[in-house]
Symmetry: C2
Subunit: 304 residues, 2 copies
Amino acid sequence: MIIDRLIDRIIELKNPTVVGLDPRIDYIPEDITKDAQNRYGNTSIAVKYALLAYNRGIIDAICDVVPAVKPQVAFYEQFGAEGMDAYFQTVSYAKAAGLIVIGDIKRSDIASTAEAYSDAHIGETDVFGQKMAFSDTDFITINPFLGADSIEPFLKNCKDFDKGLFILVKTSNKGSGDFQDLIVDGKHLYEICGEYVEKWGADFRGQHGYSSIGAVVGATHPEVAAKLRAQMPHTFFLVPGYGAQGGGAADIAASFDKNGLGAIVNNSRGIIAAYKTEKYKGMTYAEAARAAALDMKEDLGQAL
Amino acid sequence: MIIDRLIDRIIELKNPTVVGLDPRIDYIPEDITKDAQNRYGNTSIAVKYALLAYNRGIIDAICDVVPAVKPQVAFYEQFGAEGMDAYFQTVSYAKAAGLIVIGDIKRSDIASTAEAYSDAHIGETDVFGQKMAFSDTDFITINPFLGADSIEPFLKNCKDFDKGLFILVKTSNKGSGDFQDLIVDGKHLYEICGEYVEKWGADFRGQHGYSSIGAVVGATHPEVAAKLRAQMPHTFFLVPGYGAQGGGAADIAASFDKNGLGAIVNNSRGIIAAYKTEKYKGMTYAEAARAAALDMKEDLGQAL
């Protein structure tokens, strides 16, 4: 089961880190962007070339240090169809490098439409009678706002293709409380979401006791994370918000169980753009990404 | 202001219908799919060719009957990067035909990421220092679950580029109540969302009194629609769920104001695949789409 593969790899590498592949053009070293522009001009094809060259360098540098990467599709989609091609190619390259890939897509729609998203990212689409997989992401993030029937097409593909989900429960942003913290019959909305996620995940539990149907729980709310950790004993957490968004290693400890498992912590900018900071000055972007990933492993190891 | 352009066009055509461009391969006539396969084989390029040929036929047939179209991106995204190219080309073709285009993308993320989605669909992305618009949709749908700060990047582009939003308030699916109907301090969550949407839209009101920041309110819950119509006097509604999903013309009347304005009703399958039904037998798919759009205009006209 995919959740077991993720947890086994976390244990093997002693590192519950996922590297967010959220490339921005100003993160990409000038030798790559200049090469891309020389080849393809100021076009989205040049951007695709640059994004892929940059991502390949990071993936090669970190693939034996971290278990997983999480490309954020918005940073590819913003460059149109060529950007989406870069997204799908990044997923393939990362998988070929042995990484588990979490597609951060946060899709959601009514069931008949959700099925198309599910097929696109964790299933297969019918192309003139032939089934084709356009992405082969191991996990995707999804938004639960439309309710249980909107989740079912994703659960079906998780079963058929051994895939997993991370469903938004409590996001890392400041405004997350506007809706997620509202109180219904004495419970926060995030607790109610959490109950649904535990239930949806019941048929997907692996040998470590965790389900392939996980939850997104931000590092920026450690008290909420601790409460949800206790209430959702079978739900693995994807934890954004470490580093640039303000969450420290001590904050993320709340998302883990007593065995130091139960969560994977995302870091994007702090790893992929580490070479721009004083600490990693003089290194190439790939060397700095590797060094930052190793430093994060140590930071998390001390906190857990 | 974009909401005025939409309302003016609804008044001019006497037709508050938006045609959902949600193509499925089995809706596309065989002469188009065979031609595509002959040219490009069983590939996503052939799918793109077929989707575009099919959509062009529909757009040409309905562009003087309805004010707007709503491509649902999931039905393009499911074919990978080529599918996304078909989505963006469909948006361009529909705009060139004089239609207002509502991109049904239901995106949402934390602010720094939402900005990338916003730039992709209703703004401009920086490509090596040059601003490029990869899509030029007039409106997009978005999901509010992440809270006010996640909406701000979209509002900013609405202001800068004269665009609009339809924010999910009460969706048309059966499971919509799982979260949206929960009661917080005596109010349904959808009412609280509605209050936010009215507030977010305050700076975007046009000459008809409606804001470019609208709401999605399903036709399948007429009693909810009536309540929200009263509570959200400046918010224009995008109403899915008419036809195939079970909402009739009488149900949608609740979404309109006393002047017969205030909402636009979506129909996808009932128009784009009308030629497959007994009623429009013998017509081409384009002729049937036009006839079905005219029939829907009459149906809505009688109900309002």
